[in-house]
Symmetry: D2
């Protein structure tokens, strides 16, 4: 049983017709459906009891991320875009601390500019972009990685926003996906990091007006990423003065 919290800014879907049309209940609910769409019986061993899912959104008190919620979260997914600045520093710091203690973090698409991700990376997390609805092909460059389990040699998204290099993040511990864009760009689109005891996965796909999270392969990647990011028991993390 992995306790998953899906965090969504949840503004576009309430303010913008196009976003509401694609994600009527919010991006978080579509992501949750994807985790529940667990390909039972395919040998992965996932079933209805694999994930205990809750959601949280920006406009809830403390953005839905109280100490208690984070304490009970094994893996946090994060989608945000237009209101990164409205996330309080206190909550961003709390998320960062929980990751360092071992909570997994899966950062999606425009979440590259979220406060928790920027705090954990230490860099600007800047990139280039173009909203042109062209094709992206995510090549699996690390076919032995568990996040690539069950995938083909690439995953194609027919219409998406382009993200291009340079992507100002630390060199990933492992690069799982490397994206080709129709318009001539490339992007390191699946990046694994360890920080403190926590595992972090940045996954590029996802946009408020393209139905990316309904794609079954994207859903499989998210399930794989949640499993990969789940904390293990580990050893004591003891700091301070020593006798």
């Amino acid at each position: 049983m992995t306790r998953v919290t899906i965090w969504n800014e949840f503004r576009h879907e309430r303010e913008d017709e196009d976003a509401a049309a694609v994600y009527p209940d919010g991006i978080h609910e579509t992501i949750a459906d994807g985790l529940r769409n667990h390909d039972g019986g395919d040998g992965t061993g996932r079933d209805d009891a694999t994930y205990e899912i809750r959601t949280a959104t920006l406009d809830e008190p403390q953005h839905g991320l109280t100490d208690a919620v984070l304490e009970e979260t094994d893996v946090l997914l994060w989608w945000g875009h237009e209101a990164h600045d409205e996330v309080s520093d206190a909550v961003a710091e709390r998320v960062q601390e929980r990751v360092l203690e071992g909570m997994g973090l899966v950062v999606l698409h425009s979440g590259h500019y979220s406060k928790p991700f920027k705090r954990l990376m230490g860099t600007t997390c800047s990139l280039q972009y173009r909203e042109d609805g062209a094709t992206e092909r995510l090549w699996v460059v690390d076919p032995g990685h568990p996040i690539a389990d069950g995938l083909e040699e690439y995953l194609e998204l027919p219409r998406t926003e382009m993200y291009g290099e340079p992507f100002d993040v630390p060199e990933p511990d492992r690069l799982v996906f490397n994206s080709w864009f129709e318009g001539g760009e490339v992007f390191r689109s699946g990046c694994c990091y360890r920080r403190g005891n926590g595992r972090i996965f940045y996954f590029r796909p996802g946009h408020e007006t393209y139905p990316i999270y309904e794609n079954e392969t994207v859903q499989r990647v998210l399930r794989n990423a949640v499993d990969w990011a789940s904390p293990t028991e580990g050893a004591p993390r003891t700091f301070g003065e020593r006798e």
Copy 2:
């Protein structure tokens, strides 16, 4: 069920009284006992069915590592010391190929100079050493790593051989243990690598005349390492001409 093959040179124990006294049935059998000593009921979920164990030794035909055996091996453990050169290049290459296809490899102690490890690292794998039976303390430097599951902040071996830096290996993907030696040296004693689809863990402790593999914490590390090194499903590994 993880299919484990424990490979041992198995010469010291047949030729040398001191080694025979510590490991009368061979180092491989003591390592096998350690895997079977699975702390059932401690929450790790390991039980008698977790590992399917076989052993192989240098003096068997093809050193016991036929294509069939390797094909049925998820994780290979390797202990060798005085007869590295007697391992045939064909078998060393076969082991290397299987690792690149996804088989896990756990290399123990003097196995740093084994043909498969040197082929996979690409370096001399040289180090400094002193056989003085002094104390080693392996500090956990990556307390969130699954290979450290269930350990204390360090693991102490009261009498062992010293290995010192520089250790001529590629920078590890993750360093799990960092050793302190009573005589004044340090050593990166638990090193994780990915090569191709395979996971490789080098673990320093182990010696033919010190009963290192009877230490219960060492046994726990080996179980953790076997679990960590087990292959996952992954994605296709397709090479060659593309249409």
Copy 3:
């Protein structure tokens, strides 16, 4: 010509007799002397024109780190200990930004807890410590690294403070030094990172009441580190919307 700014908190030396006795003009001046002690004629090509040195301290306006000063700094060295919290967030952010643009940063000893270093690492940067004045031996684990130029196989400090693992930093890109401590601990004491366009080197030795920065080998390491951390020309760092 490398433009170096040495930043020092400069409080211990004005408030504490023991610190004043060791560093009467402040730690920054001793570090500056070490850079000037350039072993001219030893083949390294360093001479009096190699470094243009300035210093800056906490109690100056903007801690001496105005935009103009940082703009004219190729490499910044940082020593702080008891007043990390008094460094303004604005200056810490400015330092971080300049590193990402390419300025080198050499973080010394207790600077592991400084705001700029913690912001750049994204982790707690915590560790264990003991102020016992015992021996540290820094082993060179990467003998081909330019920061190790001209060193022996290890560098010994007869009396120092102990820092022990776990050290909660991201896995270093390269580990240059690995420390042994008389009291039984180890520490990754020379860690290289790249963040954005900037090079960062964390170097453990240094303490307000031990004359560490008068040690000629330590001085050599600092010169090597400054040279290594100096920015290169690079390529454009273009972000944002793309046509």
Copy 4:
């Protein structure tokens, strides 16, 4: 003064009309011309005395790579394609040993399958390819790296062979270039490694029938790579029994 040896298989250019038309004196001579085309006066400080260049080819005794030649080489460039198997194991091993001692190695294009590179990487170094003469765009993903000095945000080659992922090499220490191909593929096309004391750079561009090495930006990359790969003084590399 950096002592550079350019190794070329030198078969295509003598056997194949198309290759002879592009590289009448052999690929090695065009590469040598590129090093000599040093943009003097552009602020890089390179001039006619920067590189001492020699060449060596497969059909010379010992392939032109005697102990003496390698001993006097700071950086070796390697181009090979159709006759990798004719390189003797002894010479391949000698090259590997020299790299571990500190000699730089720049591996070009189809050299990914050369014996020295495969020995140093430990992997198959396999990839996908298609000889379709379509466009490649090499994006600079690490704009602060010295190998990117003086480049624009990308380097475009209008007609080249495609190399696609997965590229079965260890995760690079630093990825400098990431390639986009017109036909829909991506490739990690500029990969930095350290092995032993040596620096290794794999650079994808180059083909026997496209005039890649006449491209001035490619030439600049090669000069940058040679400078980056040059050995530094370092510290002793002492192995074996320790008192």
